[in-house]
Amino acid sequence: MSIVLDHVNYTYSAGTAYEKHALKDINLVIPDGQFIGLIGHTGSGKSTLIQHLNGLIKATSGAIYYDGHDIYDDDFSMKELRTKVGLVFQYPEHQLFETTVVKDVEFGPKNMKLPQLEVQMRTFEAIKMVGISEELYDASPFELSGGQKRRVAIAGVLAMKPEVLILDEPTAGLDPMGRDEILDRIAEIQKERKITVILVSHSMEDVAKYVDRLIVMDHGSVQFDGTPKEVFAHYKELESMGLAAPQVTYIMQSLRAQGANVEDATTVEEAKEEILKAWKKI
């Protein structure tokens, strides 16, 4: 379901010495089924922005429409919005609390007052989706490895069948393989369920590999919005915002400076193809 942000502003601690204009005139259209990356340095406004999307923070001014409905309307159900827009916080495993994996995952759908059968179906589907094997269903979530815990926490949100899934740095602290496994799963789920996924990340390599569209925040405003390739072409501006491009982007720049006939690339696969193409021509 589409989300439209119309001139959204947000000010923290308005009227005090700590007043901070965290979001400045944000205009965004988030259509169905897109895989979106959201990047920006710490304090750029990314977290504030995603908390607006499921109504945890109310805009100081401007409007947000979910599927055409103004979410600040009196008759709009915020509770329903929060089941439709699922937010996975940073280090979501810190929020695990139940005695077994299954119980933890079913907490969300149970609270939605769904019939018991539906709760169970959603729970098992979600656990399966994140790739947790059957022998762990009755294990304590606290006995699992870091990567497994995080998957269980994500399953808890998936079980609510959100139409929009927002993940705030889902791979922080995971080893490279654990990082790939989680992101591969999320990409699969995004395709299977045709949901919108918003991935907040500090890893330029990861967003380049997975997302269709990249939104860059800086000082509370959207600075760039386009495909990873379009956005990373502005690597110099990104650097001035405390960000960077994936390393392969710099490799291609360096080769071009030496006269190579290669296009921009944002992933290892793209770079490989480009370089091989240029090499075979010789």
Partner: protein
Amino acid sequence: MKKMIEAKDLVFEYIRRDEEGNVDGIIRAVDGVTLDVQPGNFVAILGHNGSGKSTIAKQINAILEPTEGYLYVDGKDVSDPDKLWEVRQSAGMVFQNPDNQIIASVVEEDVAFGPENLGVPTEDIWVRVEEALRAVGMLEYRTHSPNKLSGGQKQRVAIAGIMAMKPKCIVLDEPTAMLDPNGRKEVIKTLHELNDKENVTVLLITHYMDEVIGADKVIVMDDGKIVMQGTPREVFSQVEKMKSYRLDVPQVTELAWELKKAGMPMPDGILTVEEFTEAWKQCQ
């Protein structure tokens, strides 16, 4: 020369007990590690989640006592309860989350906390605080509130807090995991400066492959054991082996390796964009 860290057949077992206190399960997190770190070295430890690297870090800081084998830090036995504080003073530790490590409401007071606890005279404390903040490039923030700093700045304050205790060695357990790219760069640059200028031994645990390129030595752990060690080039030359340990190599190394597999005469173990460009020129 006295070794900074010397471990021989080091073992650590986490023992899980049931409600009656009977042993329920034993996990061997560190399994026979033999390791030498020379003073002034910059050593990086890589390994997947659960490979035992954090357990070793906690042993070096005498938070965990070895189950078997021995471990000396700056010549002091970590198993000797009388040496506990000396060990911790020799090897300071920095953790992942900067917010869990900062306790004071003003930067310089936070940095002073360590030396204060060591009983350093007040005048000396201020000298140390100033030196430490200067060393990490945070002197201009000395009277700021840590709350208002970025993640990278907070981590540098945490490092300054350790530096003010004048350790010979700093052990950092994923200090950049929660930081943005700029914050990560700041912290890694600071560590290299401390290593070069103050001759502090650095032991860096990380999941970011690009952060270990400047290290003197890279150690790869798997299942509680050291499975690879060498210079960054030696270790990253073995792309497939690294992947088998759930690790990765820098993008530039992977690209060169992929090109080599596709028939281009690229050398192994390319670590920087400059090296890549040079190698590419040789292919023309």
